[in-house]
């Protein structure tokens, strides 16, 4: 089952200069201001001077505005964008090793197929599969895998880009299907 998508969780992408310690600066700011990080993904951008952090922020006790304004004070932070989940293309990667012996291997593979996941490693009585999708698809997948016995599981935390604006903008519902 999908976890209730918390309305308190917001995605923020932060463009930072590729300088030593920049991740520590961002992480340190979150911890000393009492902001909660739910997930964090970091990688270089196409411009080697910059990296992009995608942070899912848990806004239990603080406003998103405050988080953004404090982040903006970090000298190495170049740009911050708040991504409204309804207005962003969001993807996350999941890797899971699941018990799958002869008796249920077929079911596991079938489940993976339903989600358009892929089997990326095969053992005698286990399988490792991969799924890229929206965080809530991954939540569903994870929940359905659980009864088979999850041996190891790793998720990347979401990355996201702003949804493109088009003149012939489709309804959110049809976009959701596209996603």
């Amino acid at each position: 089952m999908a976890q209730p998508a918390s309305h308190r969780r917001h995605l923020v992408t932060i463009l930072v200069e590729n300088k030593a310690g920049v991740l520590a600066r961002v992480a340190g700011l979150f911890s000393r201001r009492g902001f909660n990080i739910f997930s964090l993904a970091v990688a270089p951008t196409d411009d080697e001077r910059f990296s992009r952090l995608t942070i899912a922020v848990d806004l239990e006790s603080v406003s998103l505005e405050q988080v953004i304004r404090q982040l903006d004070k970090l000298v190495n932070v170049v740009a911050i964008e708040e991504l409204d989940p309804a207005d962003a293309t969001e993807r996350e990667l999941l890797l899971a090793t699941v018990s799958a012996d002869a008796s249920n291997r077929g079911q596991v593979i079938e489940l993976s197929g339903c989600f358009e996941g892929r089997i990326v490693d095969v053992g005698h009585d286990s399988l490792t599969m991969m799924l890229a999708g929206t965080p809530s698809q991954l939540d569903d997948f994870e929940a359905l895998l659980r009864p088979f016995g999850i041996i190891a599981l790793q998720r990347s935390g979401p990355v996201a880009l702003k949804r493109l604006v088009r003149a012939d903008a489709q309804s959110p519902a049809s976009l959701a299907r596209l996603a």
């Binding site: 600066r25 405050q66 000298v75 190495n76």
Partner: protein, 575 residues
């Protein structure tokens, strides 16, 4: 021109107009101390790096120029963490140069290695680890730029020893251009106009002036604006002197130990105009009960302050001086377009009546000639010129100094507000005197505070920096004692210090100062006059003050400002 990194560093500091550095050498910073011999920059050799940091802060607070301190790696760097945190809290421009172990040794737990940039990340506006001598001119320019622009603050530049020793090609750094740092100075015009409307319509407005007034050099603008609008002004602990205490519109200090009128005027206000202030918990008391009926206009150079604590009705990010001037214009435009100002005479009359009913008060009639600390402050105030710089430590004496001094000019009050750092006063006074050598500089210190950094009086004697220190010696960590008396049923736990251990007069003399002891009220004035006449060395006066005296008024921690206690007989131990 080929220079060593060390030479380039010193030359870069000279190029920034640095006239004095407070510091203490050691292994990793040794290369930089060599070209210091040939530099016109004055170096003041401190006895502890915390002293260097607070001196640089005192210097910066009175001059408006960045204070500079230099320390070695490891313990030198960790010793200056407190001043960095202090400067971060009070938005003081401070540039600290720290030595670091050679690049190849970083991360190996080398001798006197510590993760200086990591440790100071949370207490600096920004810091740099220089990994190439060629970067030094640019990094130093960036460091000064960041420290002094926008909301000022401390920065640290960590320089590995081999970077100092390496050679580089000297160049003049260009205009600083940092991808992620663009302080915004001018306030949004529409917001200014909205604020002006709010102000004109308000019947019970109060200007809540904070340290930002001083940082943005907006005292004159504030005076003009207050007079134009006739709005009374409270000056926070960080803003004492930003508006003259003698002015009819001045209500003095608000907050936990603020006077009744300043506290209550904010509570009853219908329009709080916060200028360079940040709704600190020591000002607001219980937040949900603070100024409940007030619409809030909040002006601050730091956008993150706006809405951080109290959501304003109009929040304007910008330099205080520029925004006040814009507000001035806007109000004038409203007036000339015929928008009437609400009638405020009942409000001002109410304020007058509060002032008459609840002035600051202490028992002047003392039994057997006990010396009241407030009397010492008043005597000092009356026996010194009004441009005297007053520097305080942290505790009861700090509150009495702020309450009973009469500040007439900006930059005459130096104290540790946000961090509340005991031991601040002596070194900060020395730094202030270095920055303003022609002014009389008096530190008003506690006996507890004095013992934390007194060694810097050796520095002052050696460097002939004639500061004066008034110790309000109550033989206690008085402020803590007051809380234990009032809130812990007089269960005094670890607050007694002793009046004569150490012997402050002997200690002062051992440090090359004049030491004077004062035990009775009639000795106060002669001692102050004697101290004022000494100009070739520091003076320390050990005022033996009443140990039982408490600071009033008081809003107990966590209580509403409505519950301000003005009655000195409050609390079981009170007299």
């Amino acid at each position: 021109m080929q220079l060593t990194g060390a030479q380039a560093l010193v030359k870069s500091l000279e190029a920034q107009g640095v006239e004095v550095i407070f510091g203490l050498p050691g292994g990793a910073i040794l290369p930089v101390y060599d070209p210091m011999i040939d530099s016109p920059i004055r170096h003041i050799l401190v006895r502890h790096e915390q002293g260097a940091g607070h001196m640089a802060e005192g210097y910066a607070q009175v001059t408006g120029r960045p204070g500079v301190a230099m320390v070695t790696s490891g313990p030198g760097a960790t010793n200056i963490v407190t001043p960095l945190a202090n400067a971060a809290m009070d938005s003081t421009p401070l540039v600290v140069i720290a030595g670091q172990v050679a690049r190849a040794s970083i991360g190996t737990d080398a001798f006197q290695e510590c993760d200086t940039t990591g440790i100071t990340m949370g207490v600096t506006k920004h810091n740099w680890l220089v990994t190439d001598a060629q970067d030094l001119p640019a990094v130093i320019a960036e460091a000064f730029y960041v420290a002094t622009t926008g909301r000022p603050g401390p920065v640290l530049v960590d320089v590995p020893k081999d970077v100092s020793n390496a050679t580089m090609d000297w160049y003049e750094p260009g205009v600083v251009d940092l991808a992620g740092y663009h302080p915004r100075e001018v306030g949004d015009k529409d917001l200014v106009r909205q604020a002006a409307h709010l102000i004109q319509r308000s019947e019970r407005p109060v200007i809540y002036a904070g340290g930002g007034i001083l940082k943005s050099r907006a005292s004159k603008a504030l005076l003009a604006f207050a007079e134009l609008t006739g709005i009374p002004v409270v000056t926070t602990l960080m803003a004492r002197g930003a508006f003259p205490d003698s002015h009819a519109l001045c209500l003095g200090m608000p907050g936990m130990h603020g006077n009744y009128t300043a506290v209550t005027a904010m509570q009853r206000s219908d329009c709080l105009i916060a200028l360079g202030s940040r709704f600190d918990d020591r000002v607001t008391g219980k937040l949900s009960e603070f100024a409940k009926d007030a619409k809030v206009i909040h002006v601050d150079i730091d956008p993150a302050e706006i809405g951080k604590v109290r959501m304003p009705d109009v929040g304007i990010a910008g330099d205080c001086r520029l925004v006040i001037e814009a507000l001035d214009d806007s109000v004038r435009a409203l007036v000339s377009s015929g928008e009437a100002q609400a009638d405020r005479s009942p409000w001002l009359a109410t304020i007058r009546s509060w002032q008459e009913e609840h002035p600051l008060h202490y028992d002047r009639e003392t039994s057997e000639g006990v010396l009241k600390p407030q009397f010492v402050v008043e005597s000092l105030r009356d026996a010194t010129p009004d441009d005297t710089i007053v520097v305080a430590g942290v505790g009861q004496h700090q509150m009495w100094a702020s309450q009973y001094w009469r500040f007439e000019h900006p930059y005459t009050w130096v104290n540790s507000g946000g961090l509340g750092t005991m031991g601040f006063a002596v070194p900060a006074a020395i730094g202030a005197k270095v920055g303003m050598p022609d002014r009389l500089v008096w530190a008003i210190d506690g006996d507890g505070c004095f013992q934390m950094t007194a060694q810097e009086l050796v520095t002052a004697s050696a460097e002939r920096i004639p500061v004066k220190v008034a110790i309000l010696n109550n033989a206690y960590l008085g402020m803590v004692r007051q809380w234990q008396e009032m809130f812990y049923e007089e269960r005094y736990s670890e607050v007694y210090l002793s009046p004569d251990l150490p012997d402050y007069v002997l200690w002062a003399e051992a440090m090359g100062c004049v030491g004077i002891r004062v035990e009775h009220p009639e000795e106060v004035l002669p001692a102050i006059e004697k101290a004022n006449d000494v100009d070739d060395r520091p003076v320390v006066i050990d005022f033996r003050t009443d140990a039982m005296e408490k600071v009033y008024p008081m809003v107990p921690a966590g209580a509403s400002n409505d519950d301000i206690v003005v009655d000195p007989r409050f609390g079981q131990g009170g007299r």
